[in-house]
């Protein structure tokens, strides 16, 4: 077959390609055949590279315009369902004033100001890594940084969030290894990653609740049960497990938190038990 195509002229080969593109699927060439036609055409006429973008530049453009946005979308999809962007609901009063959701915008501004104020009180050590994860209500870009902390609480301190309690204990073999922000359209979520010995991961996500933002709590109450830890802790949790993973959701002040990953429900409940009573904590301790 290869020789057959080599014996054809360039025009005949081009006509075959055009016929292939216009043919219905039943009469189309096999991929190998089309490839042989293209190879034979390459032998007869060099590829007209001057009229199109060279492969290196095209790959770079592909990375920039297609792959990077795709990775950002995928990152947003790794959020627990309850923290993904809720369906857009616009109240009737907002529609009647030209479509701008003033309430949501005001809530966003106030929350951003609150978070900036919290960040200022953060301690100075490790400022470079912390600056890599600027957690604002609606940050311009997703960001991430790597570190190693023995607990989620110390990682939170490190990132400048000093008014939220987080688990001080992790399952055996786990350490907190990094953080990143994921920006959905209406909220910025801080993700803290814990990695275990066998490659297992547990993630804690933190988002700020606010008017016009929607609740982070899942709506499938039947699949989750309420968990109230021992002691004088004013927070209750919604917990559940399926397959090899477990999840927990809770609200602490203005923060909506989720903890999920590859661990048993018992391990997850131990982590929740290690959350101390409501802060404030000193901003530069507990590391």
């Amino acid at each position: 077959m290869k020789e057959y195509y080599r014996s054809k002229s360039s025009d005949e080969l081009k006509a075959l390609l055009r016929a292939d593109a216009g043919a219905d699927s039943g009469r189309a060439l096999e991929p190998e055949e089309a490839w042989e036609i293209l190879a034979a055409l390459d032998d007869k006429e060099p590829s007209p590279e001057t009229v199109y973008t060279p492969a290196d530049a095209a790959w770079e453009r592909f990375r920039r315009s297609y792959l990077e946005p795709m990775e950002r979308r995928t990152a947003a999809e790794t959020l627990p369902p309850s923290l993904r962007r809720p369906p857009r609901r616009r109240p009737a009063w907002a529609r009647s004033v030209g479509g701008s959701n003033i309430k949501a915008a005001a809530a966003a501004l106030i929350t951003a100001a609150l978070i900036s104020a919290a960040s200022v009180s953060a301690y100075a050590a490790g400022a470079d890594a912390r600056a890599a994860v600027p957690w604002e209500y609606e940050a311009a870009e997703d960001s991430s940084c790597e570190f190693e902390h023995a607990s989620l609480q110390s990682a939170l301190y490190f990132l400048g969030v000093s008014d939220l309690s987080a688990p001080k204990a992790l399952p055996e073999g786990f350490v907190c290894t990094g953080a990143r922000t994921v920006n959905t359209r209406i909220r910025s979520v801080l993700l803290l990653r814990c990695s275990g010995d066998g490659g297992a991961e547990i993630t804690m996500s933190v988002a700020v609740s606010g008017e016009g933002v929607g609740s982070a709590f899942p709506k499938r109450n039947g699949a989750l049960k309420k968990y109230i830890p021992d002691g004088d802790v004013p927070v209750s949790y919604l917990v559940g497990a399926s397959g090899g993973s477990s999840e927990a959701y809770w609200k602490d002040g203005r923060y909506e938190c989720a903890l999920y990953g590859e661990c048993s429900l018992e391990e997850l409940e131990k982590m929740l038990d290690s959350i101390e009573k409501t802060p404030p904590y000193p901003a530069d301790s507990g590391r």
Binding site: P31, A34, W35, P48, Y52, T53, W59, F62, Y66, M70
Partner: protein, 163 residues
């Protein structure tokens, strides 16, 4: 997508790019559309990378996907050109140079269609030989968002003609 998967896609891209471009150029006759089709093919490859890795002939998978997209692109381009021609003929008619003598709708005859943002977007895509990625960079949005805007523009213009 893992680093390994990305490497596989990049290797396929670099190996197949020139021949796919040649096929698309011969069949579509437009370098910008040809590049769009190749980029869309590899976007689909990235979205289906587990299937691509398991496939006994990944190049065959890419080629069949690519050929289907070439066919879709050819039809889409023909549709775009038709839409723009109809719009241009209406705009010309509104300036007193009626092209279609059977046009009687006054809204159409005197509507300032060339000012529609949908028209400008579609025209930038069809007439100016720019790829979706280039248009997206100009507008400061992602290629995916640009494709959606183009689709909305087509839908809106089609609706305009139906009304």
């Amino acid at each position: 997508m893992t680093t390994e998967e990305l490497r596989l896609v990049e290797a396929l891209y670099r190996r197949m790019y020139d021949r796919l471009m040649r096929y698309a150029l011969e069949t579509l006759g437009d370098a910008a559309r040809a590049e769009d089709v190749v980029q869309n093919t590899f976007e689909l490859a990235c979205l289906n990378v587990p299937a691509l890795i398991r496939h006994p002939a990944p190049e065959g998978w890419v080629f069949v996907t690519f050929r289907n997209l070439v066919r879709t692109s050819a039809k889409e381009r023909a549709g775009d050109i038709m839409l723009l021609e109809r719009l241009q003929s209406r705009a010309a008619a509104s300036e007193g140079e009626r092209v279609y003598s059977d046009e009687t709708d006054p809204d159409i005859l005197y509507g300032d269609l060339s000012e529609l943002p949908e028209y400008r977007l579609l025209r930038g895509y069809v007439d100016c030989g720019r790829t979706v990625a280039e248009l997206a960079e100009t507008m400061g949005i992602s290629a995916e968002a640009c494709k959606k805007r183009l689709q909305r523009a087509r839908n809106r213009l089609r609706r305009y003609f139906k009304e």
